[in-house]
């Protein structure tokens, strides 16, 4: 282990141990700050009872669907808007209007339109991811060296081939920036949309535990959200390494 890793692990362990000790010596009230081992225990219990895996599965279903729809629409619209002037002009006012709105504020509207079930939650996540991916994809397309487009045309590429073989790969690094931001947004939105109108999901579990003042279960939910965040980051990093090997940093 390098010195730097040692310091990181040391820092994490130190805080956790101090925290555990403070609770056990009665200096911290478990109602507010349950000990790390209690949280682990809660995770264990809820895993065995199936409560936690089920909650994660339900939330993942919403997150993944919303993320994939948002990413696909965002990438396609972003590529078109970046490459074709009139598409950009047509989209511009809508992006300008909707982009700054916190997407959670749209959730009540979506419940009115799509009902209280999964669709309104998925649509909220889709919209949140879509705009981040869209905006970053447009940036990616605009960052492509125009000389590359010229070279492609000179070598005989059709408009569609330029789109597929130059604009798409050229924008890919920025698309991944959008996807990473979108993944973070998706997790925020799944939590917010699960506070209301559902009886399942990680957000619901967390919120319900809060209302019952089961603080260690609240912590368990928080930790699992963290795990999902880390997992999504790793997955996207892996995907980026595989699909953009030239941009290895």
């Amino acid at each position: 282990m390098t010195r730097s890793t040692l310091r990181k692990v040391g820092s994490a362990l130190f805080i956790l141990v101090v925290w555990q000790v403070l609770v056990q010596t009665g200096n911290l009230n478990e109602l507010f700050l349950p000990a790390p081992l209690s949280v682990l225990g809660a995770i264990w219990t809820m895993t065995l009872s199936g409560k936690l895996p089920w909650a994660i599965l339900v939330s993942l279903n919403r997150v993944v669907q919303g993320f994939v729809y948002g990413a696909l629409v965002g990438i396609v619209l972003g590529l078109l808007a970046g490459a074709i002037r009139w598409v950009e002009d047509v989209l511009d006012p809508w992006v300008a209007a909707v982009y700054p709105i916190p997407k959670s504020a749209l959730f009540p509207l979506f419940m009115l339109w799509f009902g209280l079930g999964d669709p309104s939650k998925i649509v909220t996540i889709t919209v949140g991811v879509l705009f981040l991916v869209l905006v970053n994809t447009v940036t990616g397309v605009k960052s492509i060296n125009p000389l590359l487009l010229k070279a492609a045309v000179d070598l005989g590429a059709s408009r569609f081939q330029v789109f597929l073989k130059v604009i798409l790969p050229g924008a890919l690094p920025n698309i991944f920036t959008g996807l990473r931001l979108g993944a973070g947004m998706a997790l925020i939105l799944v939590f917010i949309t699960e506070i209301e109108a559902t009886k399942a999901g990680l957000g619901f579990l967390l919120w319900e535990s809060f209302q019952l003042l089961e603080t260690k279960d609240v912590f368990a939910g928080v930790v699992m959200f963290g795990v999902l965040g880390v997992a999504s980051t790793w997955f996207l990093q892996w995907l980026e390494r595989v699909s953009c090997p030239w941009a290895r940093r």
């Binding site: 492609a152 070598l155 073989k165 790969p169 953009c244 030239w246």
Partner: protein, 259 residues
């Protein structure tokens, strides 16, 4: 000239710039015949319209007036390929993948195009670097890739836009010899833009000296000297001097118009 390959008659180009639509004449009345298999140099002060002319020949820009005729209709196949000063390689493609780009978009069967790409990689001496990405190569090697990529479409005419201007002097010298060799080996027609008198004399079969903007053909000099050439040769020195004389006026005019 019965070996004519390309004929330019009274070609003009007027750029209109940005929102104001300001009209900038870049080329005025270019008359030029290009013979099959020749090494033609376009020499002129910076901004005189050399790149513009090359892009018109490449079909990437339309002329504002005049006409351009290829005297070898080849079933509509594009007859030119361009090599840019800044290489313009696709950063996400390896050397080999860059080289096959042309055949790939023209739907040449994979087996055929891969064999051909290997041959070209060999021709430009990049054996062993096939799977590198452009950012892993030196400037000189990148320009070799660009050359192989341009050759992969088997064009009649290769268009070079100051291909060596961004390289250091040593590399430039080496690549000048390489270009002369490849020109001789392939028998292709080279139209080669440069603003370097030395390069013009080292490489050129004919040197077209252009006037300051808007560019016109000022004079065409035949370089009937054996290759390889050296800048210290007496005849080479004479041509250099003549070119220097021709260009000095034009550069002066450019500077005056910019003042």
């Amino acid at each position: 000239m019965d070996t004519r390959l390309l004929e330019l008659r009274d070609v003009t180009k007027i750029w209109s710039i940005g929102r104001t639509g300001e009209q900038v004449p870049a080329l005025s009345s270019i008359d030029l015949d290009v013979a099959r298999g020749e090494f033609l140099i376009l020499l002129g002060p910076s901004g005189c319209g050399k790149s513009t002319l090359l892009q018109i020949i490449a079909g990437l820009e339309a002329p504002s007036g005049g006409r351009l005729r290829f005297l070898r209709g080849d079933g509509g196949r594009k007859l030119t390929s361009m090599v840019f000063q800044e290489y313009a390689l696709f950063p996400w493609r390896t050397v080999l993948e860059n080289v096959v780009f042309g055949p790939e978009v023209r739907k040449v069967p994979r087996a055929t195009r891969d064999v051909e790409a290997q041959r070209l990689v060999e021709l430009v001496k990049l054996r062993g670097f096939e799977h590198r990405y452009p950012h892993e190569l030196s400037g000189g090697m990148r320009q070799r890739v660009a050359l192989a990529r341009a050759l992969a479409n088997d064009p009649e005419i290769l268009l070079f836009d100051e291909p060596l201007a961004a390289l250091d002097a040593q590399t430039r010298r080496v690549l000048q010899d390489e270009l002369a060799r490849i020109w001789a080996e392939t028998g292709k027609t080279f139209i080669y833009v440069t603003h370097s008198l030395q390069e013009a004399v080292l490489l050129g079969g004919r040197i077209v000296v252009m006037t300051a903007r808007p560019g016109r053909v000022k004079e065409i000099i035949d370089v009937r000297l054996p290759r390889p050439r050296s800048l210290t040769g007496r005849q080479e020195a004479e041509i250099l001097e003549r070119l220097d004389e021709l260009l000095r006026d034009e550069v002066k005019r450019t500077m005056e118009s910019e003042r």
